[in-house]
Symmetry: D4
Subunit: 167 residues, 8 copies
């Protein structure tokens, strides 16, 4: 099975990006984490990404805030799918990172997910979905996960109805 690379622009992004690894753990998908900066260590980005496919990676998740060029620069060095997680780490609350991650020019896509922690979780789920296109084991786990979420919503709804009047 292909591995997932999780790269981030700064180690201060690690607490949020941790959510992606926890999600991949849940689906039993192997991954590696790396801090690399499109601006401060571009050679590290290039050398890591260019070897990614041959090293067995199938997907690269890139999280960055502010100008957030990381996902785009990663995408420039590979034809593997790149999932971009815009992070909320500037006064613009992640709008800068969102625009910079999603508005890629024709020919070099980034698969952008939500700003911040929900995006990091979804980067993990989306990576599982990509691998699950041809991997039936993962596809089954995704279906279970989805059913689990529906059940949890129903349980929360029942709890809320029970408690509403008492609050």
């Amino acid at each position: 099975m292909k591995k997932v690379a999780i790269v981030m622009g700064s180690n201060s992004d690690a607490p949020v990006m941790l959510a992606a690894t926890e999600t991949l753990d849940r689906f039993g998908i192997e991954y590696e984490v790396e801090v690399m900066s499109a601006h401060r260590s571009p050679e590290q980005v290039r050398s890591f990404v260019e070897k990614a496919r041959e090293r067995g990676f199938g997907v690269i998740i890139a999280g960055a805030g502010g100008a957030a060029h990381l996902a785009g620069v990663v995408a420039a060095h590979t034809t593997l799918p790149v999932i971009g997680v815009p992070l909320d780490s500037s006064p613009l609350h992640g709008v800068d990172a969102l625009y910079s991650t999603v508005q890629m020019p024709a020919g070099v896509p980034v698969a952008c997910v939500a700003i911040g922690k929900p995006g990091a979780i979804n980067a993990g789920v989306l990576a599982a979905q990509l691998l699950g296109i041809t991997d039936e084991g993962i596809a089954r786990k995704l279906d279970e996960h989805r059913r689990g979420m529906a059940e949890e919503v129903a349980r929360k709804s029942a709890e809320l109805k029970a408690s509403w009047r008492r609050t």
Copy 2:
């Protein structure tokens, strides 16, 4: 090989979404197109999407403007990867569609690409990349496509340098 489904919220979105089909044609990937609305024909969406995996689809591309719930609603009915193309069809110039497509809650991702035509093209490229994770033929075509783009940029640059002074 898995097919790609291209769905859109309105037939007025077809001219833009056409770019996705042209891109898939270039990579020799099969696809089907469908108009379906998250709001006006929700049953059509559900019935199409629920059968998508068993009907041989590996990826679903969904384009919509305005409130642009289509990609999210498609994602709610499948664990196949869903690529969302926010369209510029309201006075808000696609910001509404972008936020609505990308800000999905934890657990149900949409892979959002750029607003409008570059996004539609990139939805096609991204779909090819997803299938190319495990399909070496597509991966090779993606690499050629990438090299072709680099060569075209270099050629355009040479032309520009030659013509600059004369303009």
Copy 3:
């Protein structure tokens, strides 16, 4: 008298949506609360909403944050009026939820109110106004409520004038 359904995308939305129930209590209007997610439990949404009219509901209030598709998806399954409350639960401060709730396509409206708690309160008042179109008892209570607000403003104004110099 018709009942009001108050649905929300997550139980974390309950503290804000509570304001809608308190408002309905003030007007003596019956309601039910439910947690349901357009993305994580779409079947629950569909089955609840499709039966809503026959179960005696006259209005559905739906609160959600982020991509906030809930109100629109509810509206897709019923021709009862749907009031959408965009919630401030992402780094975009509710602008994402607002655009997603209000920018519905022609044919399937959502009645959108303000972001967050004022919106939740007003969802309750608006629901009362809808039922008050034909229910004179509610219409009378609405007029009293309005007069009460005007009197409260006048009282607060008097207090402020009295205290201003002393602060």
Copy 4:
């Protein structure tokens, strides 16, 4: 049956607001149109709105652009439900009108719909839905209208599939 009032801040708003009247015509709902300005003719607004309920109106639709205070000022003078249509008539493309219409303070709601023409159409549909809470004839027409939309989407989808390859 209750009538609907359609008021707008300027006669230049009439071409867009026309869409609301066409929608009401489709549902056989009676209405009156009026130009009135929250700022240039506040007494006209007050006197029209204060008498609206007794004159047989059940809903008021108010369309305005720019600062767009009209819907809010109408709502201040009645406890009938007020539907606000933010119009795109300033360099801010209707964002100003949207914020001004939707961000009403607790206690005095406006039911805001989409910016511009889709909003005007939906104001008509929403008005029908409000009257349809207790009017079964309208409720039936709304259900037919909804089915018609679903059928039209399906027809458009079939046409698109037929024509796609030929374009």
Copy 5:
């Protein structure tokens, strides 16, 4: 000398609007404060504003947040100059109040100042400037105030230069 009226949409706005009164105190200008709501107490607004000129007011300062119709509604009832202070009291951080206060239609202006406390202070200074057009005593005080600010900046600059290296 003409008085200044300071009105605000809610008594929760008083702490910010206090800054306007302190500024007027500094220039020896008389004023009255009042809480009044464009939506919850429109008659109070109208009756206060219509009598404002004959009661000796020369300027009205209106502060409000959210949809912030107060300044516009005040302006609709008088031809006295109205200064609007948009307040930051919603999740949109005052952008809603700013757009709603400043984007008035042709014919009925509001003189909009900055969001929040700097705006409240400047509403006081601007009111003094308006009265100072024809009142030489106020004009002189304004010039002194301006010189005082320049001196304070110079003093702060000197302090900063002295302390910089030690921090």
Copy 6:
């Protein structure tokens, strides 16, 4: 009677700012126009503005687009009231000019009006209101102007009602 100065950052702003002069003509108020740039001709700004009060000006209207520092720089050189008109002359559609004009720091206000032509008209009306604080002749003309607007709205409303069915 005091005169009004109308200054603008570029002669390309003249067609919009013309609306301010037409408005002043209607109220019989004298004015002068001047092109001056906060960035390209700062000495011209300073020397004009510093002499403005003694030359008989009572109000300065300043229109500018883009970074739009003109109104603020004018305000820095005088304690006369300065009315700022943000112009829509950049890809940001006047939001840049609006923020730059309205967000003045405490102590040096600008009275900001709407973006573009409605703002230019209202700058003229506001200037008349400022002079009308103490000039009864102008105050009377302002009241007539206001009544004229109300009558025009009523007439437009009657025309619309008459023509509606025929369109």
Copy 7:
């Protein structure tokens, strides 16, 4: 004297970026133009930029629209100053390019100028200013250019005053 490199993400950006070359021509500064894409031809960017200092360049101007990573990626490969020109070539009107160009992380600056053509002109002026820090000839030309602008503003002002009444 150092040369200036003008690079752009696409040859469709050439008409706007032409303004930078015309400005450099005016100051007698040598330059080269190149089309290069951060995403489609990253090796071309790297190889051009890494050699820029030794090839005699003193400044690099980079223009790009959409995600607009070009200026940042150029800055990642050199410690020469990089001037970024955000271009208006997506539905977001250059806000995406602006945020992406200006919000660079600590350590790797881009000197961002205005969106579009004024930015392209100013990139040329700024490049001249950078070279003019130590080159007295350029500094003199900049001062003449500045004086010329002030004179042109004064001339335009005189023309406007002469023509105003006649229009």
Copy 8:
């Protein structure tokens, strides 16, 4: 060697602007700090800036929030390069300061960097880059600094990989 001037609109901006001085210290570049306000002390700005070149300054860094005219006004009085740092000191989170700093008209550029502290740091780095165009000692230090950053990223990456599983 040329000195750098660091000016700011208020002494409350000093804690953020301190980052620029620390950066210049690292490169051994001399500087002076000054508080000066475009609006409250325009003469101080003018007199400081007009003498800046002859006093040995090569670059001026200007930080300001809100309407943030300081960098533009500084640029109006000199042809030295001016670096603008937009500060996050209003409810608009620095977007106002960003637009006001970056959207300068053709002819008078400001080199705008990121909002807040990263911008202040980068103003220092950019100033070093400007002086480093012709100063080989600074150019060498900049290259070392860049290498240091790449090494730090690699070290942080190694730490993260080591600690990931243990968190």
